[in-house]
Symmetry: C3
Subunit: 265 residues, 3 copies
Amino acid sequence: MSSDLLCGTHAAPVVTQLCRHAPLVHCITNDVVQNFTANVLLALGASPAMVVHADEAAQFAAIADALLINLGTLTRPQQQGMRAAIDSARAAGTPWTLDPVAVGALTLRTDFAHEILAQRPAAIRANASEILALAGVSLGGRGVDTTESAHHAREAAAVLARRSGAVVAVTGEVDYITDGERMLAVNGGTTMLTRVVGTGCALSAVVAACCALPGDRLENVATACWLMKRAGEQALAVAKGPGSFASALLDSLHAQAFGGHHAAH
Amino acid sequence: MSSDLLCGTHAAPVVTQLCRHAPLVHCITNDVVQNFTANVLLALGASPAMVVHADEAAQFAAIADALLINLGTLTRPQQQGMRAAIDSARAAGTPWTLDPVAVGALTLRTDFAHEILAQRPAAIRANASEILALAGVSLGGRGVDTTESAHHAREAAAVLARRSGAVVAVTGEVDYITDGERMLAVNGGTTMLTRVVGTGCALSAVVAACCALPGDRLENVATACWLMKRAGEQALAVAKGPGSFASALLDSLHAQAFGGHHAAH
Amino acid sequence: MSSDLLCGTHAAPVVTQLCRHAPLVHCITNDVVQNFTANVLLALGASPAMVVHADEAAQFAAIADALLINLGTLTRPQQQGMRAAIDSARAAGTPWTLDPVAVGALTLRTDFAHEILAQRPAAIRANASEILALAGVSLGGRGVDTTESAHHAREAAAVLARRSGAVVAVTGEVDYITDGERMLAVNGGTTMLTRVVGTGCALSAVVAACCALPGDRLENVATACWLMKRAGEQALAVAKGPGSFASALLDSLHAQAFGGHHAAH
């Protein structure tokens, strides 16, 4: 399948909508990246909420505008919370997004990912190894690093999109976003994004937020990818290393959402 | 109830005491903000310790100078640890502070908050929705955001203070701090504080630390609020967005506590 | 036992190896410092992975190049994951490192630390109180702060190294690293490292990564200590307080590993 490049003139109105709608994003995500994920959503004007207990997760997923399920530090109690939240989200019509961290490399989460994949996620954001594993094409990956290029996972992503009904984003040097019929590409970014933990996980939260917006879901999800790549480039220009890069990335996301000025007093 | 404005000449000696006493603050708080909470306490010269298992939490609450209970990502195992810590704190005379995150919006934590409220917290720090819910005045709030202004929650805070015996801080555009008889107000701050996750939760930890100090508890708690608003203003002056703001906030808190110089070699 | 000072000419080649080998470090660590620990490893070119569930932890410890066990926020479910990971690591020949946070002060973790100490860790990184408690010399410490100087714990570290078979690093104003026969010392650093949560825990993760390298384990572990002290000094030179210090610390670690240039595009 050939792909079309997403350009800024398509992305910009989606960014404006994201900040205006300020979706409330219910995140059940891994322990390592909860703080950074919340700060990325806040920088863009969205509202994060991490509600994890099974009882409350069901209640909250019905209130929220979007739900994120990230398998990074999966435990059995967390599985219960995730199942309850997904059931509740589906009943309420809340779109949910899957980030299948390290699926393929580890059994418990691979089985769980295949189980919840039947619950029709609105979107899936992953690296090439994880997409190949989810699509059943290959069992690769060594932990969280990808061992297959995003390019090679394009066809697997399209297969997975058609089978699951989700918009699938496979991210890497170039990001590819597909609904199984069309495919968009997003260029750019920087490898410094791989030297800060949680940039991929936080991108999945932005994807989840964008699934709550009106309009074309394929373009909305691609805009999330576009936002992170642009912010990475801008942050690299002012950073002295990964520490100052992480701060600058949040500054840059905020500037894109709020028009470059502080929007604070 | 009318309020008096807390001014810097009253707050400054409390800040000095905080840094000199360096209270050991036992924090049982939500997963999202543990790191930032610890860094805020360290910046002010206090010592944070996050001990969560029920067995150890009871042991540690008796050693610590103050205890913080934050319901942000409540789970049933965490409830056990919180109950054990509160019991032990009360037996040892350790003051404990409650941050009832999202109480009112979610059932499990609302029931739990009402249960532990009977255990006579030294202080409560919350937004307007949460204070109204705790006081039984209204059931509002959509997750962690406040839907009622701090001003409207003033009377509810005074009722809650008289009923619980706690100093109650309801924070927002203006912070109000009351023991049910007197009320102090703290002005200033910046909305950028709402674009960084955990600034409210970390403030609750500073409130907990201030409850370990000698002197007037109402003024001590108000000083915690004053510190965060001043640091927010100073950080905004040098920040380019929420990422650099979060770093600058810690720098500014440290400068207030240690007199503007590094206090490091 | 007298000690020799580790100098930069011995440390530099180990830093180069660390970045080149890029060890995959399986971290089961405390909730407060997971994010910072991962970012420190990434800054140095290593790959962190936090896999915590008992089933997956056993599977992953056999894939990883090194394992870190940190007791900072120990819970009973986490103990199961740690036991499974250590068993699997030993069977696979994966070196594992122990950070016995607050051992001595709290019973549950002290008992657990003594239990797993029999499983022959490759390295132990701790402060003086914790080393004294592990060696059975003294029961000191008030939470995570050390109440005994690293100097006084030198002899206890040597005893512990001979008994456990581990390289033991006792860190403080001066760091001492011993295998029970030789002892290296690392000078320098800054007290600002104690105003940012997790610098010690993250150092333990770097120690774990260095245990995966070929060559002399004593020098490899001492190099981890040397790296953190040098980065602390460089960060202090540009920091305005603990917030900007934490960012600058990551920048500085990255510059040491990648030769001062971005290594990003």
